[in-house]
């Protein structure tokens, strides 16, 4: 499988009034052709910041280091013009808030056509026709009529479909979906996930799926990267990760999620004790050590690196026994 997106040692820091804060620490990821990689973690673990940094979408206060290669082209340090020509064309985004991510004063058709006109130089009419096709592609009924609607006339699920239509308008190589279903009702979520799955199959788009919802991961992902406190702590193929989590944090995360067939009487949901460390702290240790039930002396003395291989884990004392399902 060809690697489409290759992220190596990506670090992001923010300049603030209280000094420099680290938000992402040496994150490395790979996404293959038409592969869905899920990046999972709690709020504030750095997964969204990593996603935004890929195409240079962070504010001026952010400093990004490391390497992001899209089809072999380096994006970190690329000039603004190059980045603009890649955004929306090679690498497209879908955001969490469909209610506010569309501009309220333009029709959805206009907003989709804008991408086509900017990147492909389609005429007004051609862009509009293509917008209708795209709306059909993402499953919006009576697309010919809806193309002239304003965002406030559409429901949340429909708006998120419009966002997806906009994102795939130029047939991008990678689609970055940042919590695409979090703000939606559960019944609507399934529909959006279906659209993403179908796009991957029909267009061969690679997807980076940022989420904290393990249900969504199980539903859509091929591979999973688990992030904890700015770092990737484990990556594996999805079934492998769910059945044999090696990092104690991953195991804890799975234990904290409800699963089918388990009863509340016999299987209590477990919480992970303690709090996520604040961003400013940079101890020379495993960031999870304080909360880890399996912590050893080594864990507070030096930090673990990811092991090589298909199932990679950054832990001095990984879980070896499979989780009973």
């Amino acid at each position: 499988m060809n690697t489409v997106l290759e992220v190596k040692n990506l670090s992001v820091t923010f300049r603030t009034e209280d000094g420099t804060l680290s938000a992402v620490d040496r994150v490395s990821l790979e996404v293959g052709e038409s592969e869905v990689l899920a990046v999972v973690g709690e709020s504030g673990c750095g997964k969204s910041v990593s996603a935004m940094s890929l195409a240079g979408l962070l504010p001026r206060t952010a400093t990004v280091a490391g390497s992001v290669k899209l089809d072999g082209i380096e994006l970190i340090g690329a000039d603004k013009r190059t980045l603009r020509s890649i955004r929306g064309r090679e690498m497209a985004y879908i955001f969490q808030e469909p209610m506010t991510s569309l501009n309220p004063v333009f029709t959805v058709g206009h907003q989709i056509a804008e991408v086509l006109r900017t990147h492909i130089g389609l005429s007004r009419q051609a862009a509009r026709d293509r917008s209708v096709e795209l709306l059909k592609l993402v499953g919006i009924p009576s697309a010919e009529r809806r193309v002239g609607d304003y965002p406030h006339q559409l429901s949340g699920g429909m708006r998120q479909r419009v966002m997806i239509a906009m994102a795939v308008a130029c047939d991008p190589k990678v689609l970055i979906a940042d919590e695409p279903t979090t703000a939606l009702d559960v019944t609507i979520q399934a529909g959006i996930l279906d659209v993403l799955r179908e796009l991957r199959e029909r267009l061969g788009t690679s997807i980076v799926l940022i989420t904290h919802d393990l249900g969504v991961v199980a539903d859509l992902a091929d591979r999973v990267a688990v992030m904890y406190a700015r770092r990737v702590v484990e990556t594996a193929e999805v079934h492998e990760l769910f059945s044999r989590p090696q990092h104690p944090y991953t195991a804890g995360l799975l234990g904290a999620s409800p699963a089918a067939g388990r009863h509340a009487e016999t299987h209590r949901l477990n919480e992970i004790p303690g709090l996520v460390p604040v961003l400013a702290e940079q101890p020379d240790a495993c960031t999870f050590a304080d909360r880890c039930p399996r912590a050893l002396d080594t864990c507070t003395a030096s930090e673990p690196n990811l092991t090589p291989g298909p199932h990679r884990v950054a832990c001095w004392n990984p879980v070896r026994e499979p989780v009973e399902v």
């Binding site: 004063v105 991408v115 406030h152």
Partner: protein
């Protein structure tokens, strides 16, 4: 949408009726016999009787009010007690000057205010923002009639760049007309420009941190499209509202500006009428201003709904 418009129309009509009553009662509240006041210096019994006749001052208040309204509705606002000229004609002659001055001032203020506001928001925390903020604060604080005096003193008299006073009708000499009006329009527009700038800056800051701006950036649009199209379009809605709200201040400012630059407009008519105790003219001027204010605000509301689709098209989601 239609219900909203009908509601607005109805409100405007109610306000207009109330305003008419206020003006009517105001004139009856003139000290002493209104006929004496209306007669001015011409106080022989014969003309007093004529005035009583003309204004129906011996009728009941209700009849008088009806007379007043029905005359006004037919465009008959009475005669000036100084010149005997029809007040309607006097206003019709003066109004175009004021309208042109105000429209120019709004244009100048919008261009300067929106431009400076966008710069201040985009160049956040840089010298450009600081300068724009300071200018806006000055624009709010400087008395514009004094600024007008200074402009005449230094730009017109000392440097001879602009005519210090006077007016040429647009259709006689368009260039001369603009030459005469550009300085007054700039002066009248300063305060409005400052208000527009501050509002544009704050609504641009809101817009720039909005999710849809992040979307526009993620789409790979140029900064010009992101700022000029996506952010500004949303901010302009606020600017239209401001112009509507500031209309009263603009009308007041126009009166003073015309006085300073000796423009033969509505403001000059008003001030002259007060000093000549020309009550029919005062009454008409107040009534016409109120009606114009109400009408323009109705138009602003319509314009508002044209710019903002959330008002124009009701959501069916």
């Amino acid at each position: 949408m239609r219900r909203y418009l009908l509601g607005r129309l109805w409100q405007s009509i109610v306000t207009l009726i109330l305003a008419t009553i206020v003006v009517f009662v105001g004139v009856r509240a003139l000290p002493g016999d209104p006929a004496l006041a209306l007669a001015g210096e011409d106080r022989d019994p014969e003309s007093l009787r004529a005035i009583r006749e003309q204004y129906g001052l011996d009728d009941s208040l209700l009849v008088q009010f009806w007379q007043f309204v029905s005359h006004a509705a037919r465009g008959d606002l009475g005669q000036s007690i100084r010149t005997g000229e029809s007040v309607t004609t006097m206003i019709a002659n003066a109004l175009p000057v004021t309208i042109e001055l105000s429209v120019l001032a709004i244009l100048v203020a919008s261009v300067l205010g929106v431009g400076a506001g966008v710069v201040a928001a985009v160049r956040r925390g840089r010298p450009a923002e600081w300068a724009a903020n300071a200018l806006a604060l000055l624009g709010l604080s400087v008395p514009n009639f004094w600024l007008g005096l200074m402009a005449i003193l230094y730009l017109s008299v000392a440097l001879g760049l602009f005519p210090a006073s006077g007016f040429v009708p647009f259709f006689t000499d368009p260039v001369g007309n603009l030459h005469h009006l550009i300085l007054p329009a700039l002066i009248l527009g300063t305060g409005l420009a400052a208000v527009i700038m501050r509002q544009t800056r704050s609504s641009m800051l809101d817009a720039l941190s909005a999710d849809y701006i992040r979307t526009a950036e993620a789409k790979g649009l140029s900064p010009r499209a992101v700022i000029g199209r996506h952010a500004l379009r949303n901010s302009l809605i606020v600017v239209v509202t401001i112009v509507g709200l500031q209309l009263g201040a603009l009308i007041s400012g126009a009166v003073v500006t015309e006085r300073i630059f000796a423009l033969p407009g509505f403001g000059k008519l008003t001030v002259d009428a007060v000093f000549q105790r020309d009550y029919p003219v005062i009454q008409a001027v107040v009534l016409v201003t109120a009606a114009a204010y109400i009408l323009i605000n109705l138009l602003v509301d319509l314009l508002y709904s044209v710019i903002d689709p959330r008002i124009r098209v009701r959501g069916d989601a």
